[in-house]
Symmetry: C2
């Protein structure tokens, strides 16, 4: 009797094992080329019988954030945070009503802000991202994420992540890959939600940063955020930051814009098999459709090289069954 139970249990375990192997790890993907290329790459690099086998310690996969893991239209979500913070702090800064670029920010005058260019953005960024401790900044971001919704979709920003990419993150991690974010966005901004939303811990988030200082406040050490750029993690900055933070070349890289081009080239130049993926925003119905003429997430040269070299290009409209979680 006992033996029959044990045999039944053993059989169940075997069946469960088989069932797991047959489960689709990427259910939100249509069975098109991009899905096949991702799965084929993962299988070739993780099957110990394959000539392309890569040991676990070298299975490094890097992901851009804006436009690759979550949406970035009509502007980067971190810029909505900046504008909301300016409004929130306005009562303590009566002078902002008559000073640019604060005036434009308060009035939602995007045209004037765009005319102000990088200098205007930097001024707003420093007013909202510096002059506080790292702990205080985290709390501001966390509160904002809990209490804000996207202007078009009215969804929380953290619900505007891409379900198919969540599946890729989980699938690759289940195969021994270590997943990193390599973003032009702020490193401490993304870290507030990356672990809960993407399963990526803060130590695996790389991004742009401002300088910090160590000081004492009421007998306690604090890290103060200073109004000075430390590093811009974009274009050439991405492979440099990968080298600095990870110290190893990735074997897989996912991006969506020309800002990711050098990261993909750096990955491509590695010795063994590598995966280079671009998310091409082609779905004006469910998300947005844009590429080479967009001021946000411009995709031009990287797409040309991807087509020329047969990198993986995700056609969002055709390849993704679902875009955002819980919306078919």
């Amino acid at each position: 009797m006992a033996l029959r139970i044990i045999s039944a249990l053993a059989l169940s375990l075997v069946l469960l094992g088989c069932k797991e192997q047959q489960t689709d790890a990427l259910p939100s993907w249509n069975n098109n080329t991009s899905k096949q290329q991702i799965i084929e790459f993962v299988e070739q690099t993780t099957n110990s019988d394959s000539e392309h086998y890569v040991p676990v310690s070298e299975r490094i996969a890097v992901f851009d954030n804006d436009g690759t893991l979550w949406a970035e239209q009509p502007m980067y979500f971190q810029l909505f945070f900046v504008l909301d913070q300016i409004k929130k702090q306005a009562s303590q800064h009566p002078e902002w009503k008559n000073t640019q670029p604060f005036k434009a920010a308060l009035e939602g005058d995007i045209a004037t802000l765009e005319k102000g260019g990088m200098k205007a953005v930097m001024t707003l960024l420093m007013a909202t991202h510096a002059g506080m401790s790292t702990e205080e900044f985290k709390l501001e971001v966390s509160n904002w994420l809990s209490n804000s919704v996207h202007p078009t979709t009215k969804r929380a920003y953290t619900d505007m992540i891409y379900q198919p990419m969540l599946e890729v993150l989980n699938y690759m991690r289940s195969k021994g890959f270590k997943t990193f974010i390599v973003s032009g966005g702020g490193i401490e901004f993304i870290r507030v939600f990356s672990e809960e939303v993407y399963g990526i811990p803060p130590e695996q988030v790389i991004g742009s940063s401002i300088k910090t200082g160590f000081s004492w406040q009421e007998g306690k050490p604090i890290i103060q955020r200073l109004p000075e750029i430390n590093f811009i993690d974009d274009k050439e900055g991405k492979p440099l930051a990968i080298n600095h933070h990870i110290g190893r070349r990735p074997i897989a890289a996912f991006g969506n814009s020309d800002g990711d081009h050098q990261m993909l080239q750096w990955t491509d130049a590695g010795k063994g098999l590598s995966l280079k993926v671009l998310v091409h925003h082609t779905d004006a119905q469910r998300e947005w459709a844009y590429d080479k003429t967009s001021s946000i997430g411009k995709l031009d040269k990287a797409l040309l090289e991807a087509q020329e070299k047969n990198w993986t290009v995700i056609n969002m409209k055709n390849d993704w069954r679902t875009v955002f979680p819980n919306i078919e």
Copy 2:
């Protein structure tokens, strides 16, 4: 019969489990206070019934390298690398024979080098650490480590690591801790051997760095090392670098000098239980004995605060049964 075999197997597994629990995880340590404090901290933070329990994702432990994980006398090992590289490259630089600080470096004239101070060291550092790709630099370090021995002990530098600290690294990792190096030494220098020697992968090594640039050479992208300091990971720099690379406060920190003081203070100021450890070099027989008057690894203020606040102070002579691997 089958059932008896299964029962015997089950019993063996239980016994093996018990045996493992009784095994001493720190066999190179005498049963003194420092060993007890380390084990007690690890048990209190990893036992789910403890009021001090910490989830796995927050079990971050940071370790200084020079003087904490390996020796640092009569000077930092990376400086021996610098001097050896100057000698190796001298034939391509005939002008060095008559130019300081190269002349002193070539003649082994340490007194003149010391008089030249930080400026002399930086000049030598840039001549040997910059002006090449990251790949070329790794190869130089790797070759040097394979072909050099320490002037006093005649052992390979990577054999001058501390056996008791290797046991702490393994013990803490076996309890779910993620171990990081946070060193004043060069980040790309340490990464060459950290994984093989300490089991710490490159992405968990933090250190001082020079700037880098992205460029193309013969159709391939390369990362070039530039002769300009990027970041000095010492004193206040250590908590700042921890915040930048890890994004979480450690709950355990190990150091040996005043250069580690702020890292220990930052760890101590966290909310829950934390472990602050200083390696005190007290063993002139088996290693070196030095503290507040040493120019390398000066330990003065941090030791005073450790004694005052009851941090863990390792007395190398009394607490360590073994210092270097394979030497009793």
